[in-house]
Each structure stands twice: as C-alpha cells, then as structure tokens.
Symmetry: D2
Subunit: 363 residues, 4 copies
C-alpha cells in the first residue's frame, strides 16, 4: 500500500509502496484511512528538526501521521465496541504500561517517557492507505461530521489543556457571580489551528476571547473571529493593545517567550498562563519583579501536552456541537486538501494562508 | 500603651506610647500580646522598600506586626467561641467583602486587591501591648505550644501553598505506588524560616527533601536538616549538585530567578514549581527550549501568597504535632528574643545566624 | 396578555388575560415566549399536591411555567450580552443572596431555602406571552436548535446531577483502563423525559445504559433506546433481570424506594446511586445488612435537585451536539404540542404515551 | 512463638505456639509485636459471625489481629526506609494488584474484592510475638506516642472517611463564611472507639460535635466529651433531642438503620451521612417522602470502609498532635490491657465500660 515515510534524522519524505502485512489480532480492527492532517510536528520530522523522532523497533523508516480519521473495514475476534462501517479516530500516544498514570489510561501524563506515539516515536503513523489497531485505542465518530473529523486529534490536546486549567483553578472560586465564565477574559497568543481551537473552546465556556498575533488578521482569521464573536488583536498596534482588558487566562500557542512574557503584566489576580507552543531560538529575560508579581497575585502556569482517550471523545463531541452551531466554520479551517502524491507540498513547508492542511486517502 | 510604629514611605521605626482607645464591640475580644515575630516584610517596611504600605484611614502612622500570639483578657458581648485566658493567633488579611473569594472566607485569593492586612496595609498591626479584634479573625492555640505559637502565621502561608500544590497535582496521579509520597523528591531553595517550614512540611507528607542554599549550612541549619532527615545541599559545589536526584517539586523561597530557573532542568515530568519568595533586582533569561520542556513535560508553576483561616488552624495543628514529634526543634528555630525596646536590633536588619527573631511583649 | 395561572393551594388552572405592566429596567430584556414545557411539578401545582407552592409577594395568583424558550424583542439600558432577536432560555431558581452558595452563583445548593423559583414559588413563571428578565438569568441558544430548546431546563437538572456524580467519584479512580467510561454500566430507573435524558447523557459519557421500567417499552421508548444504543429492561421479567450485568451507577427518576432499593444488591463496589425522583406514598424497609453492604463497598448516594447557569449552558451544548448526532431523536421526545388555550389537556393530567408535552406561544 | 489463632467458621480462639518460619526477604523487615488492639471484627471472627473470614492459602487456621504496633528488630536486604529500632504500624489490606485503585495504592477502593486483609481474610494477622512484612506496608511512628500507637489502625479508617467527606462536599461551598468549619454541626451516632475518633477528628476540623447514644454517658465518655468540648446526647431523652441543632454531617458508627434514619429529618441542606457501622438484624422502613427530602436538599450518603497508607500516616500525625494537645485523653481510651494468655477475656466478649481493649506482647 501507499504510505508516506521518513528516515529518522534525515531531511526529506517519500511516498512509497510498503507492505506491513498486518494481521488482524484479537480485539483489533482494520481501518481504511480517509484523511490525515498535517501539523508543525510532521513538518519538523520531515525537516529533521525534532531529535526525539524514532522508528519502530527493527525499522529504519517511520510512517508519518498522527492526526487521522478512517472507516472500519474489517473486525477481528472479540471486538465488542465496533463493527464494519463505523467511523473512527485513533489516539496517538500509547502508554508505557509501567507508571501509575499510564496504568489508569492517563498516558498524557506518562512519567517514564517510555510511551510510543504513532507517526512520531516508536510506532508507525497513519499516513497510509490502511492500518490495524486495537479497538481500545479508537474513538467513534458520528457520520455527520465525517468531513471535519480529521480535526479531532489537534482539538483533543486543547481539550485536555482546558480540562487541566479548570482543575487547577479549583484552588479558588474562578466563576463569575452568575456561576458562569462570561465575565472572564482570555488572550490566545497565536492564531493557527491550535490558537483557533483554544479560541472556540474558550468561547464555548463563555470567556471573552482575544486572538493575538503580530499582524492583522488574514481573511480566514477575520471570518473565524467574527463567527465566534472573538476579537482579533494586532499586538504591534499600541492603540489595540491599550484597549485590551486584563486577562484571566493567557494561552500561548506560539512557543515564543518574547510573545507571552510581556503579556503577564496584564494578567488578573489568580490568573493562569497555559504553555502549549514549542519552539526554539527565542529568548526573553524574566526578572525578580515578575516573580514577585506572580507570587503576590497567585498566578499559575501550566505546560500541557498530549491528550487522553476521554479528551478525544470530548473533542468529537465539540466538533459535532460546533458543526450544528457554527455551520461551515470548521470546514473553512481546512484550507488545503491534497492527495498523498502531493503531500510533499504541505509537509515540506506550510502553505500560505493555511489554517489546517490535510491529505485525502479515500472517499 | 507601647507600640512599634512606622511612617509609611519613610525609613525608620519608633517605639512609642500610643492610645487607640479601642472599645470592645459585639463579637470582639481584647487580647494581650505575648509575642510578635519579625519577617522580611517588616524589615522592608522599616527600610521603606515596599511601596504597597498603607496606614489606616485617617492615620499617618502604622503600627507594625502581622505575626502575633496573645491571650484573651476580656470578652465582649455575644462572643461564643472564646473566653478569658484562651490563647489565640489573629489572621492577617481581612477580605474586601466584594469578590467571590472574600465572600466565602478565601481572602488569600482576593480578586479586587481591596483587602487590608494588619501591620502592612490599611490596618494597625499587632506590635503593641494589646489589641481588640473580632472573634472570627482569631484561631485558638493549645496552651502546650505557647512557646512556639508565634510561628503560626509564617507557617500558615506555607500550609496554604502546599494545600494548593496538592490541589493542582490532582490533574493526574501524583502519589507513589504505595499511595504515599515517599518516592517523591523536593528541592527547597532558601533555608530561612520559610524554607525550613517548607522542608518540615514536605517531610511530613513523606517527600525526600533537599534544602538548597548557595553556601554550607549554619549550625542551626545543620541541626534542622538532620533532625527532620532532610539533606542540605550547597548549590555552588558541583559534587553535591551532581548527586542530586531529579525533583518532583521545587519550592523557591528566595525570590531570585537566577536561583531556581536553572534547577528546572532537573525537574521530573508532571513536576511543579512553587514561587513564594519576593525580591527585586535579579534577572535571568528564559528561552524557548525551556518553554518547550515545560510543555512536553506538563510542568506546573504556582505563585502563592497569604493564607486563609483554615490554614492558620492547620498551622497550629502542625506546630502541635511537630512539638510532640521533634521536641525542641521549633524552639531552636527562634534564634533571637528581644524586648520591644530592643526591637530595632531585629527590625532594622537581620541578625546574624537568624532563623526567626521575635519580640516578647509579656509573660 | 394571555397567561396560565393557578391559585396556590387550590386545585385547577386558568388561561386568562393578565397585565403585569413590566417595565424594562437596567440590564433587563423583554422576551417573547415561544415554547413552555410541562412537567410533573406543573401538574402537581395544578392538582394542589405540592405544599411548597407560593405566589409572588402581594399576589394571590401565580403564573405557572419554569421550562421556557423565547426570543428577545426589546433590550434595556446597559444590556451587554444580548440583542434583539437572540434566542434564550431563562434559569428557574434565583438565589437567596445570603448563603455562600447563592453568593457565588450556585443557587442550586442554596442553604437557606430562601430562593424563589419562577412558576413554582415566589415568582411568576413563563407561561405567558412575554416576560421581562435580568440578562444575568438568561442563557443564549443557537438558532439551529430552536425547535428543541424548550428541553434545556429539564436537561439542565440532569447535567447538574451527573456533574456532581463525577465530582463525588473523584474519591477514587472510576474510569476504565483506557481512561474512558465504556466499561461501566448504568441503570436508569424510570423512562420519562428525565430518565431519557439521563440515558442519553450517560451514553454520551460512554456508559452502557440500561433503561428500567416495570413494563415493556412504548414505541417511542423502543425508538429512543435503539437510537442511543441503550437497552430497555422490563424489571418484572426475571429473564431480563437475570441477564442484567452489575451496575456502577444507578439513577432513580421514579421516586419510589421500592423501585430502586432492591436494585442496590446489583451495584458494584464504589458504585453510586443518584436520587432524582420525588414521590409520595411508597415505602420499603432497609435492613442492617444493606447498610453493611454499603459500608463494605464504599457505596455513595446523592440526592440532586435543580441546576445552575453553567449547567443550562452545558444543556444547550448537549442539545446542539445531539441534534447533529442523532437527528430527529430530540424532536421525537416532544410528543405533544398544544396552544395555551388547550394547555389544560396536558396540565391537568399526563397525556397517554407522553415523553414531553409543550405549549406553543408564538412562531 | 505464641500466637492467637482461630479456625475460620468455627466458634472459639486459642493461644498456641506456632512456627511460621518466616524468612526475611528483600525489602522486608522483622517486627517484634508490642501491642495489638481488639475490635468488633475480631470478636465477630472469634464468635464465627463473619462469613468472609478466610485462612491463608494452604492453612486451616488464621492468626488473628489487624490492629498492631511493633518495633523493627531485623532489616532485610535493600530496605531503605527503616532501620532496627524504628517503631512501626502495618497496614491491614493488601491490594488485588489488578484493579486500577489497587494499582495506584488505593486498595481501600479495591474493585475486584480480591484483596487480602491481615488477620481477617487470606493473610495471617499480627496477634503473635513477631512478624515479617514488606517495608512498603509499614508506617513509621514517632517514639513519643508508643503508648498509644496501637490506635493508629482504627483511627486510619476514620481519617479515610472524613477525607472522603471533604472530597464529596467539594460539590459546593461547605465552609463557613470565615473559611473554617466552626459553624457546622456534626452528630456522631455511637460512642465506642470509632465514634470517639470521629468526634475528636471532627472537633479538630472545627465542627460542633454531638455524641449520640441511647443512654447516659459512662464516666469515660463523660470525660472524653468534656475534654474535646463536644456534647453527649442521650437520644432517648426528648428534652435533649429537642435542643439538638440541625446537623450538617451525621456519622453512623452503630450499623443500626433504626438509629440513624430518623435523624435524617434533622439534617441541613447539602448535608452528608456517613455510614461506617456494620451490623445485622435491625430493620427500618424508608418512605418516598424521605427520598424526596434527600433529593430536594441535595443530601449525600457515603459508606466508607478501610484506609490507605496515606491515611495511616495522617492517623499517626493526629495521634501525635492530640497527645500534645489533649495529654492523657488517648491513653484513657485504652480501657483494658491484657497479656496474650488473657486475651480470651477481651476477644470472646466486650468488657464492661470498654472504649478500647489491647493485648500487650512485649515491652
């Protein structure tokens, strides 16, 4: 079958025929891939910028792809949850089996680091025509969202982070006097697919959302921010920055400390900063006054990565709800669709005006 | 009566006679001060380094003192919880009455900033022979710890911070396989009274504790670390640093980013950094790689300040338990006792070898 | 305007013209009523079976109706959240303003009992052509679910109860080894609208759901249980009961202890029983062996009533998601629609085959 | 060595010499037994009233004893936490190793039921001169409480239950306006050692405690209630019952539904009932009105059993704190001390005026 492969620690990718001869074991299903999404991690792998990449044991190549959506075409022995024709999304990370978090299905908090991640480290990914997987790693998707279900994985990470925020903020009363969150302000730094998902999710909770970037919005960003009733802010324009109310939550999806550290002076008491972006090269000083400010104001910061199966399910629920509520909003987040043969055009570098690019494998 | 006063925004302090003519209202008691403690905040006020200082309305002087212990000498109308002769510690911060946290007794998370703090901003402190207070702001102390009860307030802030840590870490399973915390390592940066309290409290939870400073331990620090079975680490000695196991929690009581930022490279996955120290002048760069590290490893950071009444009660309980368990350990933390007349010797600058200095007002 | 009124403590209801002359104050909006739902409480009020009924101060009549959906037709001064044409659902209970829970927007946990509830006690309800309300008591509804949004209020109470269940069950690990809830079984006792909502919501969480009644399913119940992949169980048939696997959660929506007490022998360790139904007349003995069983197995029981504003918002989200996922399922739960003039046919007694009956006030 | 044994399912006990030839394995220590406590479960086992009793595999006898305190006399290979001469208490239940709760050290919430409990089911107990145990099942005790440390185990179960109460009650704000619990009332039904521990622990949290029994207090009970500032209530005297304020928490340590069900009418909104007692034979009807009351008032009920290692540690901390605070209070709870040879006098039936009876094995 066709697959997109890389050689770990080598620049480049290849679309080639590869036969894994995957047998269908107990509790396993065979899935025909419909769509796979592409994110910065995929591009980092193709351009050999991520040192943690690892091929499966016994392989020198790795099939790419961790954002996938497919349809079950064959069901193995003792499969109880799924049947042929069900639409599914696979979870990415598979736990180490040793630490307590992995033992209870919270591999997103794996302690040993000995997990594998499909298409990233130690396990082949989903950029191939079909794959076999254990039913326990699959999440069901309603047919009605099959056009956008490839967005489940990136959204799942955002869902996990906000779940965690709500947990952390139970250290005090964080809701508004009416019991909801409509009096709270959120800055989302970075307006790619992750920043967009944070914005929609925080709007769903009721937060007033400000989408921050160092430039004016693209037409797609303009559309999104209007549709969800958020406000796009060009952080290089002081007249926009001066009107910005203080934030109760700041989410950084950029990875640049120079982008979010200066914003901390505008965070409210008991506020929280979510770190989600990963970058290199940028550097910003923090001084003792900022530390004192964080102490005096009970500021919390959380770095958040990955998602567990429950977050994938919640992600599917949000996509379903938002489709009914916002119509074509999520479809318009998918700015490019290419065939596997053209995948290099979206894997080697980011297309202009991209929110999310995807590869279509089958109808 | 005798009192220790400052003029806000002026360097210096004075022991003088001052008559507040405090009437005993409903639900109020009159307390004879026995001991008051001195901390960095008091010295900051005396040396005019803390811009948030504020005298009570209508006053141009402020009576100092927020760490106090006393005995009730007169009970007002409708007082139900206390009687003459009860030993008590007053809480420091009194809520704004407006924000939700203050409304439910969590003024340590006040959102408006419109609280008052005895001896610090907007309310006279306890460095005087007696004071009147509402019974709701008092916490009872068993007679058996009257020699160390002046330590209640500083410990209460530590109790709050660790309560908060345990709340935040419920985002995953943080305990060891046996359900306790004995497999976890804690670094405590700074070995003053606050660092010492963090060390004892974390030992009580079961953590392996490493007390970090930029020098070898003083005899008092040597005694404390041995007594609680913690390990003192001189961070300037690479042979000690190299043997240090990774940390699950790092507490900074120094306020210097240059002291704790470099330690983050030694924090375990899902670890947490507690910011407690407040300083000025120090500066350290953070780079995108550190941010990526925090993201990839689900690192949390919390700034924590102040304590609520329940934390004061827990603080009294810990002092009581530790006295039974550790004998004179806590007494030896009180390194200096002076009369009000000599208070300038401990308020103007930190005595050599100090862990905690206190003023004795009465027997 | 037309309104449906009762005289508290008198059997009967009346459709009559009544003019409240409601002025539009600051932060208030005028809402044209579109639909109001009818539940057992309304029928209890009409048939004078609920002693807690209370007219507003100065009135001897009470306008009925607590399940409502409408459209904003006029906006008062300083209204920030809504504009003319927005669809909204009002919350029912308005807090006492005194207890801590009401102060933070959690009037569903009011401690004093001095709340008012629209259409039930102390405040006119929504069975009238229009009403004025404070914007803080309104929840926005997307236009796409305007045909089913009248279901928001009854669902909100179910959402609150399950939120509470998830909170209570954090006393241990309750999820399955994969981190989700698909290995857990739920019995829902009673298959009216509330039982149906519990079933759909628990299915959404992933639970295997068994809908229990003392009879075979009606065609509507058959349709619902099939559609959501739950199993209807006739508890009078021993062959069905014998095949029932043990439950991790039992929800009683019947109010009859004789219906749920015997089921406790089939609850798993660490299981939870939710009490939601309110009835009179039924009686069942509990013996010390059952108490011992509850102790030895860490069984929890929670009675749950009412919902807060956040639950209303979550309820709107679920309706939106389920409409996209299940199509006409929710529409088919609305088994009867009548005009105000015909309201007596659904308010005086329950129509045959009813899941939910509603009154249509306007297009 | 001397040991106290029973034959499961046979009435009677025997003090006999038995040699287990326990080798000291890796991570194990040999413990000389100092004291073992006796509780209702031990008497139930001796009188063959507990059907769940089970000898270890390959045995037809079971050594009794689950409440123990001892001193380490020999340390095996790789033991890191303990040394010869350390005082310790062993935990009772050892997890199934299969369910998620046992995997994370929460065997008190074991789901499979396949745990063993020393002296009760599947594992020899501690009523013998010495025993070998894994260090992970031991909790350190400070020497200063060696006279009362045998109380650790019974208290640990109470600590777990109240921890659970605090977790469950986070469903809303349960603290008083000052952030503490002094405005809350607790009824404790039953005044044996468990009821006494609940009373002291709830007093420590700040609750006003009412100790309920069907008779006047014994002198020991009179002493205890006075010492902790609780109130003893004879529930058969209507003048005492009429003065009883409403309860926020009711703890039943009796196991008799006829004792606690009638008290539910006196529970406040959002109140919680803790079931802890296990009995047989008693029976009380509950009716639909009581169920409605529980629904309308958000009443929670939890059955609670056993304790985890952290609760044992907290139990040691409480004993230490209470010894310092209350002096001989806990010593006076130990009403009888006998030699192993006299153990039948406290194991076959409850001595008159007992709070806690113990067997002394060594000095």
């Amino acid at each position: 079958m066709k697959a997109i492969v890389i050689k770990p620690h080598v620049i480049g990718m290849e679309v080639k025929n590869i036969d894994l001869e995957e047998k269908l074991g107990k509790n396993q299903v065979r899935i025909k891939t419909l769509y796979t999404g592409v994110c910065g991690t995929d591009r980092g792998l193709v351009n050999n910028k991520l040192s943690f990449v690892r091929a499966p044991e016994g392989w020198d190549e790795l099939i790419l792809g961790h954002e996938a959506f497919g349809i079950i075409e064959e069901v193995g022995e003792d499969v109880t949850e799924f049947k042929k024709g069900d639409y599914v999304v696979p979870v990415v990370r598979r736990g180490c089996g040793v630490c307590l978090n992995c033992k209870i299905g919270r591999q997103d908090f794996c302690e040993t680091g000995n997990f594998v991640e499909a298409g990233i480290r130690g396990k082949h990914g989903f950029m191939r025509e079909e794959f076999v997987d254990d039913e326990m790693y699959l999440v069901r998707v309603p047919e009605s969202i099959k056009d956008i279900a490839v967005l489940t994985e990136p959204l799942s990470n955002v869902v996990k982070a906000i779940d965690e925020v709500m947990q952390v903020q139970r250290r005090m009363v964080w809701n508004c006097p009416d019991g909801a969150y409509d009096c709270r302000n959120a800055y989302v730094v970075g307006t790619g697919p992750i920043g967009t998902f944070y914005s929609i999710l925080l709007r769903t909770y009721g937060f007033n959302v400000f989408m921050l970037n160092r430039r004016d919005p693209s037409p797609a960003e303009e559309y999104v921010s209007k549709r969800i009733n958020a406000q796009f802010v060009n952080t290089t324009k002081s007249e926009e920055m001066n009107k910005l109310p203080k934030a109760d939550i700041i989410v950084d999806s950029s990875g640049f400390p120079s982008a979010f550290i200066p914003l901390l002076s505008k965070i409210n008491k008991n506020g929280i900063l979510v770190l989600f972006g990963t970058e290199t090269g940028d550097k910003t000083p923090i001084d003792a006054d900022l530390v004192s400010f964080m102490v005096e104001n009970n500021i919390a910061v959380i770095g958040s990565v990955n998602a567990n199966k429950m977050n994938f399910k919640e992600s599917v629920n949000y996509l379903t709800m938002w489709k009914e509520k916002y119509g074509e909003l999520l479809n318009r987040m998918i700015t490019t669709v290419v065939s596997p043969e053209e995948a290099n055009t979206i894997l080697e570098k980011k297309p202009k005006g991209e929110i999310k690019s995807v590869i279509k494998w089958s109808d």
